[in-house]
């Protein structure tokens, strides 16, 4: 059981690179981070700096070359595949740049999928999925397949899927990157509010200063690790409000 003050996520001394020998490229090193309940954190940086890779490490999808990551007190590296998958399913919600909805499933089924994978009965899963779809304003589209949804709707379904199990940590990888400005603003606002209601904490990776400055904490990822960035360094360009 994690206490109220215990960090949800602890990352210490993470390093990651790709390739081997002379062709090896070091992406980042010495990345450390502690995320507490209620945090809304933006990680920003130029394209290719390893933001998505860092999220994969946080979610236990990839292993660091050095350092350790613990979610809710459990070290990813110490877990066997099955408990690792179970912890990821219960503790992590993931929103991708592209929705990555399963095209054969309806919006409702896509949202219920994490519940089905957790072994919930179909009726229960569908009911909870409809509740979350209602929250993101898509209850009327519950039976629609992803191909019939607009880009913004797909991303809202993806957000609903990410929070349906009320994860401790919501990881968002450029969640508005595939949307136009108007849809991006609506989706970001929805994401921030839903994250506050249904997730313990959220990390949003973005290279867009507009979205970074709306988060309470902003970190810049570079080769030498994460560094704090003042929100004032990101002037509002479209009148957006700070979320926290």
């Amino acid at each position: 059981m994690v206490s109220e003050t215990a960090p949800l996520l602890v990352a210490e001394g993470l390093a990651k690179g790709f390739g081997s020998g002379e062709g090896r490229v070091e992406i980042f090193r010495d990345v450390s981070l502690r995320v507490l309940a209620g945090d809304l954190l933006a990680i920003t940086g130029p394209s290719g700096c390893g933001k998505s890779t860092l999220l994969h490490l946080f979610a236990g999808l990839d292993t660091p070359d050095a350092g350790r990551v613990a979610l809710e007190g459990a070290d990813w590296a110490a877990l066997a595949p099955a408990p690792r998958a179970a912890l990821r399913g219960a503790g992590v919600g993931f929103v991708f740049q592209f929705h990555h909805l399963l095209p054969e499933l309806t919006a409702e089924e896509n949202v219920a999928l994490p519940l089905f994978l957790a072994g919930r009965p179909e009726e229960v899963g569908r009911r909870e999925a409809r509740e979350v779809l209602d929250r993101v304003g898509l209850l009327g589209r519950a039976g629609a397949f992803p191909r019939t949804l607009s880009g913004g709707e797909r991303q809202r379904v993806a957000i609903a899927r990410a929070v349906v199990r009320r994860p401790g940590l919501l990881l968002c990888d450029e969640p508005t990157g595939s949307l136009d400005a108007a849809h991006a603003a609506r989706v970001f606002d929805l994401l921030a509010s839903v994250a506050k209601e249904r997730a313990g904490a959220a990390i949003i990776v973005t290279h867009d200063p507009e979205w970074a400055r709306r988060c309470a904490t902003i970190k810049l990822l570079g080769e030498e690790g994460l560094s704090d960035v003042a929100r004032s360094a990101f002037p509002a360009v479209s009148g957006g409000q700070t979320v926290v």
Binding site: S52, T53, H56, A59, L61, D62, P81, A82, A85, A86, R88, G89, A90, V92, F94, F96, F98, H100, L102, P103, E104, L105, L113, P114, F116, L117, A118, R161, R165
Partner: protein, 381 residues
């Protein structure tokens, strides 16, 4: 279960996807044809074997009771009565069996003969009559190996009889055998009026003669030997069983090969859905759960193909057999058309083995797909 739910959706969607749809259809049809071929082949074989078996049971006594040594039964009625009292025995007939010479004109040939109560006249086996050129209606001389005393000394016992008919070569008989009335056989073999060399016993349940054989042996003691019809025709019974096994193994190869197409289906599906597998991992699916999805998809095609094949095979066997659509030369087989007999156990075994093989074939590519790191697929999608 979520794996079957997803697999079903993938397979339904594959109708719209050329890559998966073509290999899935090929696997489905291949397996269905293989299973149907196996069911039809087994039904044909079962039909023939049932025919052979019924002929065998009608011609061969279900139990043969003989003296354990070289002796004969001298009190045939009493011994026959004791056999008849055994539970499951329908009829008991004393027989006199032995070897004679059949002579016509200047030619003679040895022949096995058996005397039975109900036999009228002398009936020769075709194989016995042909070398001597004997046709029904002709008179032949039977010379016994036993002799009787005469004023001139011992002379062979001889009988002259008219050949009343020729019996076709019978199923499973080890040697050609002529038959004649029991009293005439007793005279030829000097057995006396109440003698017999053995008894032919027919049972209520011919399919399981072992229990009755043991009961007869127990009733008569160690001085008699009891052989069942299966023991009398051991070579034929073994050949029938072997034939069934060999046919099953040979035709099941079609199912094996068709099943390998399911591995291809599973592999193509896994390759085209690598992104989905990664998303499932992100959502909390364990590698085994992801493996189950692709295995269920390949296995699902196998189950559908198997059931379709069983339905086609059973229907084809009923139609071919019921309407006599496969004619045969009756004089050769004793049947006007090929007999088909669908055995429920055969259908069940074929179905179970085909479904099991389908899942085994689909398992390897499914496991490979499940072991792909999710991040690699996520970078690619």
């Amino acid at each position: 279960m979520i794996s079957y739910f997803l697999a079903r959706r993938y397979l339904l969607a594959s109708r719209r996807e050329a890559q998966v749809g073509v290999v899935a259809l090929a696997a489905f049809l291949g397996l269905a044809l293989g299973v149907a071929a196996l069911v039809v082949s087994l039904a044909l074989l079962a039909g023939f074997q049932t025919h052979v078996r019924s002929r065998l049971l009608s011609e061969t006594p279900h139990l043969l009771v003989t003296p354990a040594g070289r002796g004969v039964f001298h009190d045939a009625d009493r011994v026959g009565g004791r056999i008849a009292e055994v539970s499951g025995v329908v009829s008991v007939s004393p027989v006199a069996r032995g070897r004679i010479w059949v002579s016509m004109g200047r030619d003679a040939a040895p022949a096995e003969v058996v005397g039975r109560e109900k036999t009228k006249g002398l009936v020769l086996d075709v194989a016995q009559a042909r070398p001597l050129g004997i046709v029904p209606g002709e008179t032949v001389t039977l010379v016994s190996s036993r002799s009787r005393l005469s004023p001139l000394g011992p002379i062979p016992i001889v009988s002259t009889m008219q050949v009343t008919g020729l019996a076709p070569a019978s199923t499973g008989r080890r040697a050609a055998e002529a038959s004649l009335p029991l009293d005439e056989a007793r005279r030829l073999f000097a057995l006396g009026p109440d003698g017999a060399t053995g008894y032919e016993v027919f049972l209520k349940d011919a399919a399981h003669p072992g229990k009755a054989a043991a009961a007869v042996a127990a009733a008569l003691g160690p001085s008699v030997a009891v052989t069942t019809w299966e023991e009398q025709n051991r070579a034929l019974v073994l050949a029938l069983r072997l034939e069934r096994f060999v046919l099953f193994a040979a035709v099941f190869l079609i199912v094996i090969v068709a099943g390998l197409n399911l591995a291809a289906t599973s592999a193509v599906l896994a390759a085209t859905r690598a992104g989905d597998a990664a998303v499932l991992s992100v959502l909390g699916a364990s590698p085994k759960a992801v493996e189950r999805v692709f295995r269920a998809a390949g296995g699902g095609v196998g189950v559908a193909g198997t059931f379709f094949g069983l339905a086609i095979g059973v229907a084809a066997a009923f139609v071919l057999g019921g309407f006599g659509l496969v004619p045969l030369p009756a004089q050769l087989y004793g049947l006007g058309h090929a007999p088909f007999r669908v055995d429920a156990l055969d259908v069940l075994v074929v179905g179970i083995l085909s479904v099991l093989w389908s899942f085994v074939a689909a398992a390897i590519p499914a496991r490979t797909a499940a072991r792909q790191p999710a991040v690699e697929a996520l970078r690619g999608v």
